[in-house]
Amino acid sequence: MNAIQRRRRLELIGGVVVLLALALLPLPIRDVYTQNLIIITILFAGLSQAWNILGGYCGQISLGHALYLGVGAYVSTMLYVHGGVPPTVGMFAGGAVAGLGALLVGWPCFRLSGHYYAIATVVVGEIGYLLFLNWDWVGAATGIYVPFRGESLIALQFRTSKLPFHYAALIFAAVTWVIAFVIEGRAWGYAWRAVRDDVVAARSLGVRVFPSKMAAAAISGFLTGVGGAIYAQYVGYIDPDSILAGSLSILIALPAVLGGVGTLWGPLVGAAVLIPVSELTRSYLGGSGQGVDLMIYGGMIVLVALARPAGLVSLFGAGARA
């Protein structure tokens, strides 16, 4: 067994251990605030992993990923509100539409390199925000309240306890991790990293760049959309400002960058640091704390970008994978 196989075996074991630990984590916790913090952290770890598939592995930095979060949330919620479709089904519809959206955006944009692509994603994200803000059928600026129709697993609605949401988020994050893990070991994963490292060399080896980027976009968009649907059910209310705004795009991308872009554990580590920091500064510092959370993330990202681009995971010796 060589180093690659050994590493993957260790990663798989690590994944199972972390999963078990996180599954057991909420059981002794009674305080709602902490439960919420953990749920949001896990959810964003999953969302960031979804982002990582396109941004980290494939190297196409998307700064407007909230679009897919929003699309997934709106599709799933509209289906539930108007069609009675339970969110456990609706999330897949949401994911599918989001994935399709990602393909539509990718089509003209993937031939743009690095920063041009990033700019395009910012503008497209803003277009999405503007669109939903002015679209009366989906509630425009007022948004949509997710109607509580009784406790239900299928409808992902729980009032008495947050625990089921914890497991929903955990399953979501675990699925995104597994998908990243599986693809990392297969042809696509290699193709993506080759394209990211040196697209000319990748082409000379027969890697079809455009189709592989489209595949990454579709998977990333789909997973983000599914996460959006779960988020909508958890928060119980969606509107453009809470689900399509640029600030959410930042919250989705930054954990992966902080933790280690293009790595398996990066988004998890990054989310575990970034999300609590954000929530805690906001609640403890209150009014005067406004902005401190942004200063902390912004500062951390600049430090990571300049001093340790391989991210926090590289501090744990997770290899030279940059």
Binding site: I4, A191, R193, A201, L205, R208, A320
Partner: protein, 242 residues
């Protein structure tokens, strides 16, 4: 029908005629040297065969099928592999992973790709460095990695871009041995070089380019004696009377 046919290839870059009406053939299993002084048009022709550049006129055919103007990906799938003069390794990956990218061109099974990559690494003498990070290799090792990666795509034609330039005599000898071993595997090789004394003992035939045109083609012995070739490289003073 020869294995590789370069037929009347011409290419101009912004007013400069890099290649003018280049024609020659390569038989299967041969090692062909593409030589000539700097600026002769070797790189441009090389890139045309590799699919990076589309000729303005003429065609390049592999086993009778056109490969010119199709792009590097199609060329690769047709069985052409190439190395880069300035090594382009995938720095975020290990040596083995680099070669696996090439191996995935022929199989989608990770286990198979890994196996093939390992055997290619053994062939190229890099097996011991399989798990090292690609960016940590020494320059000669990096060149071997380029070749290994290209070989992993199981090409019919291997294009080497100045593989032997700037090596110590020991390294060059090892490089020559590797190219011979590649030919043993029934892979045709076209090498661009401008260091004559290294390449002429190795190749079966040579095509000499000068100022964008074919100066002559022939066996190494013929080439090295030809006054036009000597004049092209060293100037008129050294050309002995024919």
């Amino acid at each position: 029908m020869a294995f590789l046919e370069v037929d009347g290839v011409s290419k101009t870059f912004g007013g400069v005629a890099a290649n003018v009406d280049i024609s020659f053939t390569v038989e299967r299993g041969q090692i062909l040297g593409l030589i000539g002084p700097n600026g002769a048009g070797k790189t441009s022709l090389f890139n045309a065969i590799a699919g990076e550049v589309r000729p303005d006129r003429g065609q390049i055919r592999l086993e009778g099928k056109r490969i010119s103007g199709l792009g590097p990906v199609a060329c690769s799938r047709a069985g052409v592999a190439r190395t880069f003069q300035v090594v382009r390794s995938f720095d975020s990956m290990s040596v083995l992973e680099n070669v696996m990218v090439g191996a995935f061109a022929r199989t989608s099974s990770p286990a198979e790709a890994m196996g093939r990559a390992m055997s290619v690494l053994e062939f190229c003498g890099l097996a011991a460095r399989a798990d090292a990070a690609a960016h940590q290799l020494t320059p000669p090792e990096k060149r071997r990695l380029e070749i290994a990666r290209a070989l992993a795509t199981e090409p019919k034609l291997l294009l080497l871009d100045e593989m032997l330039t700037g090596l110590t005599p020991t390294e060059a000898a090892a490089g020559v041995a590797l190219v011979r071993a590649v030919r043993e595997r029934a892979i045709t090789v076209v090498m661009v070089e401008h260091v004559m004394e290294v390449v002429l003992p190795l190749v079966d035939r040579a095509v000499v380019l000068n100022l964008g045109r074919v100066l002559m083609t022939g066996s190494p012995a013929e080439v090295v004696r030809h006054p036009d070739v000597i004049r092209a490289y060293l100037g008129d003073r050294y050309a002995a009377p024919a």
